[in-house]
């Protein structure tokens, strides 16, 4: 058995007062308050119209927007909780259920009619770029927030944070999108979400790992 007293003496000699982390709820609220305006500003150049909420088919789009916000906040709360050692494991059951409802709403909100050739794909690319540009500042803020706590499970924490960012970007997109969706358009939304998760995990790993 090795004696660790000298090492402990070294650690305690170098110990300075530290500022405790805020409760997870406050951290999520602070992240939302900072990340959403930054996301709006960074995607402003790709902002082409405002959603017409007076249309008769706007209700599913409105519900989808609310669900995106709840899912985004929930996933961020999960990421922050998971980054803290000894906290009960994050239960993703409810988030998974809400995500399924969100998916069903969007699938149900798809129009069968296709716009004239090529426009559907162009619209999808625009949405993809919008979500990516909105997500970039959100990623930076999320990684900075997770860097403060570090994480014993960096991959999982970042994947959850990436999911939260993807839903928040999708929410911002809903504010300047048609109330109905086309298949290819929606596929591009999903592709943007997957890209955001992948980029968050790859870019953030180094910063939140506990070495």
């Amino acid at each position: 058995m090795r004696n660790h007293d000298r090492f402990i003496d070294q650690l305690s000699d170098s110990a300075r007062p530290v500022k405790r982390l805020c409760p997870t709820g406050w951290r999520v609220a602070a992240w939302i308050a900072l990340a959403l305006p930054c996301g709006m500003v960074s995607s402003w150049a790709l902002h082409s119209r405002f959603t017409d909420w007076s249309r008769p088919d706007a209700l599913p789009a409105l519900l989808s927007l609310l669900l995106s916000f709840i899912l985004g906040s929930g996933a961020m709360a999960g990421a922050f909780t998971l980054s803290l050692a000894g906290r009960p494991p994050v239960r993703l059951k409810w988030l998974g259920l809400l995500a399924l409802i969100w998916l069903a709403l969007n699938l149900g909100n798809m129009t069968a009619t296709l716009p004239p050739g090529g426009r559907q794909f162009g619209e999808g690319v625009h949405c993809y770029l919008f979500m990516l540009s909105a997500s970039l500042p959100m990623m930076v803020i999320a990684v900075a927030a997770l860097h403060r706590s570090r994480s014993l499970y960096p991959g999982k924490s970042l994947a959850l944070a990436g999911g939260g960012i993807a839903f928040m970007s999708s929410m911002l997109l809903s504010l300047c999108h048609q109330t109905h969706l086309h298949m290819l358009d929606f596929i591009m939304h999903l592709a943007a979400g997957i890209t955001i998760i992948a980029v968050t995990v790859l870019a953030g790993r180094r910063w939140i790992r506990l070495d």
């Binding site: 058995m1 660790h4 530290v18 405790r20 000894g86 706590s149 570090r150 506990l210």
Partner: protein, 182 residues
């Protein structure tokens, strides 16, 4: 572990977070048996076990601001120990492919045999960049563990390993060129 003893840990950690070094020292020393017990559930090798204990102490030091004194302290310590133990086992698994601590130590052990003259050794060390030299001196001359060297130099253990690895490559190079000259 007596429950009465661990009951004081949250209060000690709260004082440590406020900068009370004595409380922090007492707490870390009291935690060592608990950390050892948690780590032993995953690791049977004694040498690796002691390394994991040091890495856990270092991790606790680095994330001590994440502990909430309203919550029990043992699950917090157990989670950190478990993660460190798994990392250590993974690293050991990779040791055949990647130059790890043992390989670095083996390389370093060759140095005193070939360079018995202290002046010559100093000459070799002088050829290294300052940070690499400091790490070699800490780990191989002052016989500190990687965790101790990391804490002292305010670097991560991975960064210390990387500096050591680069230092060994540089020492090898300068050793070869000196050998060729003579």
């Amino acid at each position: 572990m007596p429950i009465t003893e661990t009951q004081h840990w949250p209060a000690l950690m709260a004082r440590a977070q406020a900068g009370d070094r004595e409380a922090y020292n007492r707490l870390l020393k009291a935690m060592v048996p608990a950390i050892r017990a948690f780590a032993r559930q995953k690791i049977s090798d004694e040498a690796l076990l002691e390394d994991v204990i040091q890495e856990t102490l270092l991790a606790i030091h680095r994330v001590r601001h994440t502990y909430d004194p309203q919550r029990p302290v043992l699950p917090w310590v157990a989670a950190i120990t478990s993660a460190r133990a798994i990392d250590a086992l993974r690293q050991r698994g990779r040791s055949q492919e990647v130059q790890d601590e043992e390989a670095v130590n083996r390389q370093a052990a060759v140095l005193p045999e070939t360079d018995t003259d202290g002046h010559e050794l100093n000459g070799y060390l002088d050829s290294l960049p300052v940070r690499q030299r400091e790490i070699v001196e800490s780990v191989h001359l002052r016989e500190q563990s990687l965790a101790q060297a990391a804490a002292e130099s305010n670097l991560s253990i991975a960064a210390v390993k990387s500096l050591l690895h680069r230092a060994m490559l540089n020492l090898r190079k300068s050793g070869k060129s000196n050998h060729e000259k003579s």
